[in-house]
Point group: C2
Chain length 381, copies 2
């Protein structure tokens, strides 16, 4: 019932995801990663919500963000609440209506919520892979999801949907399977990973690796490198928000009453907020997964992989809906505009909505009323 199989002991407490299912494959190492390495066995954890109809044409695949679980919708099981990370959008009667649609939400290959990742036991050694886990790309993540769909005998999708990393994966999915999905809904993501994003991920990875508890990735069952992971998360949060919303939320508000600072310890609310976010994150995420997945994000490059954005999407029948946030500094709206225009040039049907919000990248999961309407409209087509 719980996704503890591949987690280091340190974060087992966060692994209470009920009714997780698994697609298992490549015990014979038939699965070849983009790097050329044959790798297995592989398990991909996923959850489903709603029911598959007899025509098998009501499937919506939702890709999580870098750090979200397969628990996309909320559930109540035996009196216990399991809140979904996108509960205002996904559920019975919601914009992604689980009375109508059969929703599948996966844990990424390399992840830490049940799928094979750096914290999984390496069958050759009996120990967790750690940094011996093979480098991989978003294409590999999609190839694993495709295996899962094959096992479920699902060939057509009503929609692929995702925000942030989830949006990149939806793009990669369509580029690799041009006629599998009727719709693609991409939130806060585009064909471009900016130099600043690479820079921030680079710094975040260094912080994890600097933590003496990281021990070259061999911390499973030992001290957890929480300080390094906390710094990585804090760097992430600065890009998920933006200077304006940080100012509005925190300004120079202090934690306590200081004449001036009297020690070098935490003084401002923004510092307290970041510390809190970092601490919370350490209860639910594997630092090695952060290293591998952030590197896979940096390496996402549709132009390099397919020659051009137009090449990647030429001939697709998938209809694209992009939703960008006006104040997003991680995936700026102007890059979504460029992508929308390139998709149209590639002959694809593509629409872009820009949500006017001050809340930065995070707004893709906050401006639910407006975004819910856009998603409803797309899904009704």
């Amino acid at each position: 019932m719980y996704a503890v199989e591949n987690l280091g002991d340190n974060i087992a407490a966060c692994s209470e995801i009920p009714n997780l299912q698994y697609a298992e494959f490549s015990k014979d190492l038939r699965f070849e990663l983009e790097s050329g390495k044959r790798f297995g066995p592989i398990k991909i954890a996923f959850k489903t919500f709603g029911k598959l109809n007899s025509e098998k044409n009501n499937v919506i695949l939702i890709f999580p963000t870098l750090t979200a679980t397969p628990q996309v919708a909320g559930e109540k099981i035996k009196g216990k609440e399991f809140p979904g990370w996108w509960k205002d959008i996904v559920g019975e009667g919601k914009a992604i209506d689980t009375k109508k649609f059969f929703v599948i939400c996966t844990d990424h290959f390399g992840g830490c919520y049940g799928s094979t990742g750096p914290g999984s036991r390496n069958p050759d050694t009996g120990k967790p892979y750690g940094m011996k886990f093979p480098p991989f790309f978003l294409k590999d993540v999609i190839k694993c999801v495709w295996e899962l769909l094959q096992q479920q005998k699902i060939e057509k999708l009503h929609s692929v949907i995702g925000g942030s990393l989830g949006g990149l994966l939806a793009l990669e999915f369509v580029a690799l399977h041009k006629n599998a999905a009727k719709n693609a809904i991409i939130l806060g993501a585009s064909h471009k990973i900016s130099a600043q994003s690479i820079a921030l991920n680079h710094i975040a990875r260094q912080a994890i690796m600097l933590d003496p508890a990281w021990k070259n990735g061999n911390y499973y069952g030992k001290e957890f490198p929480e300080k390094g992971l906390s710094i990585a998360r804090q760097i992430g949060h600065i890009s998920y928000l933006n200077p304006g919303i940080l100012e509005q939320k925190f300004g120079r508000e202090e934690v306590g009453k200081f004449k001036h600072f009297v020690s070098l310890s935490m003084q401002y609310q923004v510092e307290s907020y970041l510390n809190h976010q970092g601490e919370k994150f350490c209860k639910r995420f594997d630092p090695n997964t952060y290293i591998y997945l952030s590197k896979a994000i940096d390496s996402f490059d549709i132009e390099k992989e397919f020659g051009s954005v137009q090449n990647a999407f030429a001939g697709t029948k998938t209809v694209f809906t992009s939703i960008a946030i006006s104040s997003d500094v991680l995936f700026p709206a102007k890059d979504s505009e460029e992508m929308n225009s390139l998709l149209q040039k590639a002959g694809a049907k593509s629409e872009l909505y820009i949500v006017e919000s001050e809340k930065g990248h995070d707004a893709i999961f906050l401006e639910n009323e407006e975004i819910g309407k856009m998603i409803r409209k797309t899904l009704s087509n």
Copy 2:
């Protein structure tokens, strides 16, 4: 001749600053820090360029940035070149003409280029202070500079000038000594330290402290915490540049030829650039100084200290020239506009120039032609 007195052995190699002078005081602990602590002895290192005229009315005080040395202008001594960090602006015939003006450039209290700081010997223990150095504020930095000026029997300044932290110090100087300076030139700085700046400094300090070599600040003469300081510097660089210029300079350019990445090591030029900046910085800066000075910056709050910006500058005869960069994300031009307006409301003469440049905060030391003209114009008054 060299400023090695107060440096840990690890960074002595960078301390070759010729003809450094010192103001020494508070051997009797008469100097009281803002925190209430009496502290001494204090040495403030400084350099001078040009000659003090007999009227003593040609003095320009230049405050360095967080990390710059007192070597503001270039020199050639016994055939050896000592490049100045602002050599295109300060020197013979330059906008700040050392044939005409007597330029003083100090090392900050708490610094690592000759002034008393965390790396100085604590006379009580014979060992470097480390984290036993007292917390201090920008007001303390200015009080030390004022002592230096008293010792030099300088009562009036033609101008106080500084960029970034140097600009904050110029503001603090005028607020504390309303009639001492005829002009104040503030580049890339305003009365506001943003929540995002505090957030970035907070993360940078954590990275330094996470380095196992940091050892609670007691690394002098031992292994240097270079990885932590490098991360701190890299975080700084992201804010000194901006997303646009990072994209323009680096985009997704790779260090070598990769099909995709085949390992988790450095792949993109932006990563190589950041690593290089971090490494260079470790040859010339003290991590503990970074911790203390960045905290003093976070605590800079004219409104809190003086009640309001208008209170702080009401009645001053100093004429303000602010120079802001259109693309600065650390000290946005809109904050300089607000400051200019508040200064005018306080009755001060104040002008703002906004330099249209894509280069971000760093442009205050790059757009030298345009900025040189503005400085020349101000100094000719």
